[in-house]
Symmetry: C2
């Protein structure tokens, strides 16, 4: 790719990512879901695979350890998750959902798809495929 004026992509990328998160957050609030978008992400992953170490969670979510620590702190305060001693490694925890946490995921799951879909009005499946390809390339280029 020749050196031209491609600088605007970072601006658009940042702006759009913020808007997408903000949009979802506003819907969450309107639905009185009482969790943030990032907390939802953690809940969803724990629902699908319980007992993960914070470590593994961080890797899955591409968040750093401190961020995961704090999100789990909040989920524990809300009594949606608990930390259990890892049976063979006293440094780490296995994070589990409480009954309340599982209920929350089941309550939210069907609503999320609709919220997420709004962004794609007027766009095609090919747009989607291509878009994901580019996002992936960018990420890999910067690794």
């Amino acid at each position: 790719m020749k050196e031209e004026r491609y600088s605007s992509y970072s601006f658009l990328l940042d702006r759009t990512a913020r808007r997408v998160k903000q949009y979802a957050q506003q819907k969450f609030k309107a639905l009185k879901l009482n969790v943030t978008v990032d907390q939802w992400l953690v809940l969803k992953h724990l629902y699908e695979r319980e007992g993960m170490k914070q470590n593994e969670l961080a890797e899955l979510l591409f968040k750093d350890n401190p961020t995961v620590t704090r999100i789990i702190d909040l989920l524990c305060e809300k009594e949606m998750a608990i930390r259990r001693q890892h049976p063979s490694d006293r440094r780490s925890f296995q994070v589990e959902l409480t009954r309340k946490g599982r209920k929350k995921v089941e309550q939210m799951k069907p609503k999320i798809e609709k919220i997420r879909l709004k962004a794609w009005e007027g766009l095609s499946k090919d747009d989607f495929t291509h878009f994901k390809k580019v996002l992936d390339s960018i990420y890999k280029n910067l690794e």
Copy 2:
């Protein structure tokens, strides 16, 4: 667009946007530029059009007023910008660059393009055009 599994775009979008900003920030640090990526954006806009109100700056950057207030606070502390009383509206300021601020922009400008370009290795001009189109559609869909 049919209701399928498009939820992953928000994850990829967020992840990539964060990576892009982080990558640039690391380069800034290595070059000892002593500004953040967002501070750079403000500097650049002020360089191109001095005397803007914080208001106008916020609109250009798609940031909210509190965020702009804080970034300008930091730029003023670093003596790269100053707030001037607006001549006809005592509520607002005209933000200007100091000599130091202008020098910083001139020093940084040529280096930024290279940093930004790294993300596009292996991607074509069409990829770029299409990518921007999709980002724009998503943004507009959520407005």
